[in-house]
Amino acid sequence: MKKHKFIGQPVIRIDGREKVSGAAVFTDDIDFGANLLYAEVVTSTQAHALIKAIDTSAAECIEGVVKVFTGKDFPYQFGLYMKDRYIFAQEKVRFYGEQVAAVVARSAQVAKQAARLVRVEYEPLPVVTDQMEALEADAALIHPGLGEYEHVPWFFPQSQTNIAHWRKIRKGDLEDGFKQADYVLEDTYQVPRYAHCAIETHVAIGKFDHSGRLTVWSSSQSPHTQRNLFAEALAPLGLTHKDVRVITPHVGGGFGGKAGVTMEIIPAALATKLRGYAVKLRWTREQEFTNTYQRLGVIAKFCMGVTKDGFITALDHKIYWDAGAYVEYGANVVNAVGLSAIGPYRIPNVSIDSICVYTNLPPGGPYRGFGYSEMLYGLESHIDRIASHLGIDPVQFRRMNAISEGDTTAYGARMNPNGLMEAIDKVTAAIDWDKPLASANPSKVLGKGFALFWKAPAMPPNASSSAFLKFNEDASINLIISGMDIGQGYQTVMAQIAAEVLSIPPIKIRVETPDTDRNPYEWQTVASHITWSCGNAVKNAALDARDQILALINRVHHLPIDTLYLEDEAVKCSNDKRFHLPLRDFVINGIMTGDGTFKGGPIIGRGMFMPEFSSTKGNPETGQGGHPNVHYTVGAGALILEIDRETGKMRVLKAAEAVDAGCALNPDLIKGQITGGLMQGLATVLYEDMRFDEKGRMLNPNFTDYKIPTSMDVPDEIIPIIVEVAQPDGPYGARGIGEHTMLPAAPMVANAIADALGIRIKSMPITAEKVALAIINGQKDVQ
């Protein structure tokens, strides 16, 4: 194999100097001058109610208020996969905290003060906060208009119910599968909602100039998708895609929460009625908790059959999702997990029902892991219990049933090449899985936990990426792409790919944040697909530039193209070792020929990538037939947990996680993802606990009461492990790993507790309190 110069190297991040010096510009850092106005929203104080009247008169009297807007001003629907959402609530509100009106004023303080004076009269409707209650026949209907909503063809909403989408998978013969089983375990697992908690809250500024052009600066993972949704939603105002421009500076954390469109549409819409002004809306931390996407809540019912020698024969898996008040994005979480709810296992007989249920809680949406964390909590707990019942080591049980390349998934497509077995070997070796544990401290007990994971990018079958690449006079490069570096190191890795093809060091490549007017199309920075998809586009753009360079040399110097190559920023020739033409000599100004004329000109590469093999055309009743997922990334995690017998307080002594990156384009950045992602996963199981009252109001929308980990909560030792089984269609064999790093955390903690104490906890979070109470009460099984 050819040795790479920049691929596979721990290249220093190209955004490093900006970010550690304070120079990096985030959306809130941009100045807009004297014509900047501030918006403040009036939010619903009911989770489900008819809006009877809105009185804005008192607010309008406040000095400094420019205008007050309500739903009547913007009667438009929007949404990514299903148009079930409104810019402002129309005839009714569907969650506590929903935007009902907005005040625009000359200062943020005045806007805030005036917003408190807007009076909204409600007629309360029955509130449904539990997905199982929402499924009952007499449950209040949250979206009576569901049957009329536009949606993607792979959604199956059930009109006149609260079921927004029902993904069904049927494979093999379930009844027969259970007949073959010697042991069947049936149980239910519960995972609550979680918040992304990016440290930067959502912020967006809309400006509609006197020529009729709308520009939106936003803290987003999805500039082009935002432009598309703004243009679609605001089309009644005469806007087209050409008139809408989205500029996305550095983003202070995304984790899925800044994908799609949430609050950004508010300042975009408000601006259209305030020509010439810039209108800014920045969420407070409380609004960030209560009115952006939240991770969906899950109740998962498992019934799994196995033979006595440890082979899985059947799985009946019903997943009920608390998807919240609007599911335009969240319903695709439900879909994605429905397709993949067998986990990374070979299971011949399968029935999956993944059901997206409307509730009167904030909209559920994408969160790092896209539903797989929730699904794997139950699945990996269930598998551990089955192995234990059969007297088989849980790691061995997984080895026996692990999916391999060429096996069929639940929907009938073939599994891609993967390093699942290697991941198992490496994490178990890293924590000495077979070595018995004993705590030296009698008040503490130790346990080991293990979990496998898999996840595929969830995206439309034609989600695409594209790239422009232009040379500068000194052969430095501007790589112009539209993914977002939300911290994962995207800009650096894309620069490495272009660097490898063109022999230009990454340090000489600048990647700027996107502007939809100037940067080529990218669907969104989500799904952990950007390394793979945009990486292919960048590679194609670099190859395009290289081909132009070699063709020019061939034309001028008459050297055969197949003897020419790029090395150390120059063109060289395998037939003529003396030939050496530095790129900086010609990539802008061309090459002078004998008569003084020039050949060539500025070299500009372009590339794109779309997976042309993906299809969502499976049978709606069985899921069989399509190819909805491009590939899976797999891995394994294992940890050693110390538990205090009296307080239930837990400490992770050692955690190992292996992920199959296909090809580690930048191993240091992957290790960074593992370290950070694992911590975020551990937080969902050990610390974070979102609480709502019966009226659907979140009780802890701040960092004092919703505890995300601090520097004091870090595991004693984290061992990040990279596995590399190439993805045939990935750039240099790479596939994405960003979200996956969270996935094994929760079940491996649950499994370690069972190992240490014999207590099985079937609902998250697993707080110290829950563990201590189980010990005190002598409970072995905690629902």
């Binding site: 991040r13 550690v20 304070g22 990096a24 990016a198 440290i199 370290t675």
Partner: protein, 154 residues
């Protein structure tokens, strides 16, 4: 409104402030210093940390009017014409990802190293416990600080 004069990153600066304006808002909106970030506005996250007379404070919890005559250092002042050894170590160890919390984290770590040039790992953890980072899992931040303390030994 009242005129307030401070020394900001070594320069004397004055501006008119309202009694209820926070130091964070005044630094960002009136004095053009953007590295302190707003993450929670309640003193929970530490992204707005600045050095006030050499001590790290949450600028969202301090009124600008209280700072008359005081010396304030932000990340812009730490950076100056050349990055500090700590900032270079942050690049080397990938001690940031999205970069939003980095200004507050670096300010806090700068204070730590100025007052305690050889902190133990526990002291580092303790010092940073008021700075939330959602991306890195903190370990790379510890690594950068430890590396700087070791470098100084050489």
């Amino acid at each position: 409104m009242r005129q307030v004069t401070i020394t900001l990153n070594g320069e004397s600066r004055s501006c008119l402030v309202k009694p209820n304006e926070t130091l964070l808002d005044v630094l960002r909106d009136k004095l053009g210093v953007k590295s302190p970030k707003c993450g929670c506005d309640h003193g929970d996250c530490g992204s707005c940390a600045v050095l006030l007379n050499g001590k790290s404070v949450r600028s969202c919890l301090i009124f600008a009017i209280e700072c008359e005559g005081m010396e304030i250092r932000t990340l812009e002042g730490v950076s100056g014409d050349k990055l500090s050894a700590l900032q270079e170590a942050f690049i080397e160890f990938n001690s940031f990802q999205c970069g939003y919390c980095a200004p507050g984290v670096i300010i806090t770590a700068t204070e730590l190293l100025e007052t305690n040039p050889h902190p133990s790992l526990d002291e580092i953890k303790e010092a940073l416990s008021g700075n939330l980072c959602r991306c890195t899992g903190y370990t790379p931040i510890f690594d950068a600080i430890m590396a700087v303390t070791k470098k100084e030994d050489e």
